[in-house]
Symmetry: C2
Subunit: 255 residues, 2 copies
Amino acid sequence: MAQPVKPARTSSATAQRHRVRQDLAAAAMHLFASQGYEATTVDEIAAAAGVARRTFFRHFRSKEEAIFPDHDDTLVRVGEVLESAEPHEHPLDTVCRGITEVLRMYAEAPEVSVERYRLTREIPILREREIASVARYERLFTRYLLGHFDESAHRDGDDDPLLAEVAASAVVAAHNHVLRRWLRAGGKGDVEAQLDHAFVVIKDTFGTGIGGGRALPAAPPATVSTTGEVVIAVARTNASPAEVMRTIEKALKGA
Amino acid sequence: MAQPVKPARTSSATAQRHRVRQDLAAAAMHLFASQGYEATTVDEIAAAAGVARRTFFRHFRSKEEAIFPDHDDTLVRVGEVLESAEPHEHPLDTVCRGITEVLRMYAEAPEVSVERYRLTREIPILREREIASVARYERLFTRYLLGHFDESAHRDGDDDPLLAEVAASAVVAAHNHVLRRWLRAGGKGDVEAQLDHAFVVIKDTFGTGIGGGRALPAAPPATVSTTGEVVIAVARTNASPAEVMRTIEKALKGA
DNA sequence: TGCCGGGTGGCACCGCGTGCCATACCGTGA
DNA sequence: TCACGGTATGGCACGCGGTGCCACCCGGCA
């Protein structure tokens, strides 16, 4: 593992660069886990990956970043998810799909995520680093909601920015909670389903606001007849127009 | 300002230590604002405050911390607010009083807060530092809510930890929003009243959940009909779903 | 007067992060 | 096949943040 890795013959230059980056990240994780974060120098990481110290900093801006090699790419992917959302989708649902993308990144390598979680709990610097990374997603969501709340039906006046920030924060908090619980459990189980369930719980609890989406109880929110007519009855009126719209849309799609 | 400050005669040793700390913080703020953060070395800060470089690190753990000298004390004070809360008070209200304590810290020195805000927007390291500081309050609130939700009347089963985290996050998000808006406005106006208003808005919007305390208004602003029900009939079904949506939306807005 | 403890100054040291330049490698075109 | 330009790398030096260590000063106390 600490040996310099010979280049694979089939790799191009950019693939080789990716390989070096992955080797560095793996070496860093291994050394941090085995001998501690502070006791590990960048020189050791570089040596373990078979490259020079200077090369390490060409791949990672700092020593801490070697533990979170995927946040930058994930942030871009989440941004693409938001940009490519269908115009009819409720902005909050879009944001939920966005944060799910983040969760998926963790879930793709459970053992690495669990070990990294152990480190971030012990080393304050790493903890702050991760908090800062998650805050970037939250800012992205807040900006997105800010730009899409006014397109939606509901109209809360000057409180939209506040609600956008609170909503983004709530979605991220749900993600954090589900993720950490999953990590504490050792990375076992379908974490993505757990996050969806958390969204349902939140929408059930706070749903009368801008949460939307949850089917109204007791009576199906929308019934579609086969006679060439559509009759939609919404029982609860204190739902926002946006929620009404979204519920109707779901029913239309199901028909 | 860069001169070594002579000790006041009436000050004890500990008061003198506080004075040195304040001088260092003031010198740091002044230098950061005048010549930039990265361009300012700890040696310069110490020299401007009339002490040795080593003394700087006896008062602040790092260079960044010199800009946020009050977060540690404030965190302790917020903890005391939570601990000394009356048992009858709703936990969420207690947490709101806690975050208000944080806001008050900023509001006590508006010009310093505004200048610091300008710096934190430009220097990523300082931004991350502040995010980490605020996250500490959020963690404190989450733990508090976790320990006090079961004492409350409502009972949501295993979802309490999730709701605690989301609620704490929402309160902090509201604080962040109000604070930043106030800072962008130059630190003018009654920011504490604005925060209280934000709490009202949030409780009105999400109030049916664990928001507690605040009674839901008879008809939320999003109310569509006065009968408590909305019935929408769309005659033609072979219209595209998008057209149906537009028609419904029009009807909702007209109501 | 001697002692004691906390704050300080000064020094040395480690390690992170960056700038700079020479070098090796790879793909491209003649 | 060779030359060439762009790119990743190695190696070196430097600045600076942060820490450990020791000597010093100074106020309190017997």
